[in-house]
């Protein structure tokens, strides 16, 4: 018998602290699988954010750095620039980290086409602090700090990160994926692998936005949360490639 599926080496064999059914675990695994398949664990340095995945440094076997809230792209810039030839650098950030407090760092790293890989977890809520409104919370979405539903007239509309960044000249690759079923997980892995391969090839800033679930703070079962992604999240955050400069060049 041959092993057809097992925990990747780049993922440390410890229980994750995430809630039951939280898709962080799936995405951690996909990143680790890609690191394994590309054979880059020994030169990879990951940057953990502030948020639910703050302790991601305990889960990846590669060298890890914990950054201040929102600053992961700036920290990643430093790590990458310290040794561009030998460092493979990724950030793993949630929506509050990347699209709210760290928006400037995100936009400017993209504008510089910083040669890093960004894994962006969009679950439309602040998980770690107990379910407050995120920059990506949907209109009408009830959270602890939008108890009557997010009112865009009062606090604006959710930010579509891939669409927004796609207007910049800088970034190499932007794709939005999700992990709510096996087919989508396969597609998500392909995108994450491309985002790392781009860095290896020196192509530049590659961001994969993963539309994710937060069963606990959405107040749903894990199953209902995955369904909610299909029904509510994806209509507002359509899946797809928002920028692929190399492909665009080839097409020309």
């Amino acid at each position: 018998m041959a092993v057809v599926f097992d925990k990747p080496h780049a993922l440390i064999d410890v229980p994750l602290h995430y809630c039951p059914g939280c898709t962080h675990g799936i995405i951690h695994r996909l990143v680790a699988e890609v690191i394994d398949e590309l054979g880059i664990e020994g030169k990879t340095i990951g940057i953990a954010p502030v948020g639910c995945s703050v302790m991601a440094y305990n889960y990846f076997n590669c060298d890890m750095i914990e950054a201040a809230h929102g600053r992961a792209p700036a920290v990643a810039t430093g790590v990458k620039r310290a040794d561009p030839e030998n460092h493979i650098v990724f950030t793993y950030q949630g929506d509050g980290d990347l699209a709210s407090i760290g928006m400037a760092e995100t936009v400017h790293a993209a504008a510089r086409n910083e040669n890093i890989t960004v894994i962006f977890i969009n679950n439309a809520i602040y998980g770690m602090t107990g379910g407050q409104m995120a920059p990506t919370s949907l209109p009408g979405q009830v959270t602890q700090t939008s108890p009557y539903g997010r009112d865009p007239k009062h606090c604006g509309y959710p930010i579509k990160v891939c669409e927004m960044l796609s207007e910049l000249e800088g970034p190499e690759y932007l794709e939005r994926v999700t992990v709510n079923n096996v087919k989508n997980i396969r597609a998500a892995k392909k995108a994450i692998k491309k985002a790392f391969q781009n860095q290896i090839d020196g192509k530049g800033f590659s961001l994969v936005e993963v539309v994710s679930s937060c069963p606990t703070n959405w107040g749903m079962t894990p199953q209902a949360a995955l369904k909610w992604i299909d029904e509510k999240m994806l209509p507002y955050y359509p899946l797809g490639v928002y920028k692929d400069r190399s492909a665009e060049k080839e097409a020309e």
């Binding site: 599926f5 995430y18 039951p20 939280c22 894990p222």
Partner: protein, 68 residues
């Protein structure tokens, strides 16, 4: 036939693997409670399993090893 190995004590009983199985061979063991206090996932009929690994791919806690 395939072989599934569960790291039962790391299972959080979310049941995403149960839904992912195309042959509906998995269930949460209502008669068992693991160290974390969850009903862990288990396979009902390993003979029927083709080792597609859908369950393992869906598992957020990476507790399923699939051999074929």
């Amino acid at each position: 036939m395939a072989k599934l190995t569960f790291k039962t004590d790391n299972c959080k009983g979310c049941g995403l693997c149960v839904d992912a199985c195309p042959k509906k061979l998995l269930r949460l063991a209502k008669d068992k409670i693991n160290k974390k206090g969850h009903h862990p996932a288990e396979i009902t009929d390993e003979e029927q399993c083709v080792g597609c690994a859908s369950c393992a791919m869906m598992c957020p806690d990476c507790i399923i090893k699939v051999e074929r």
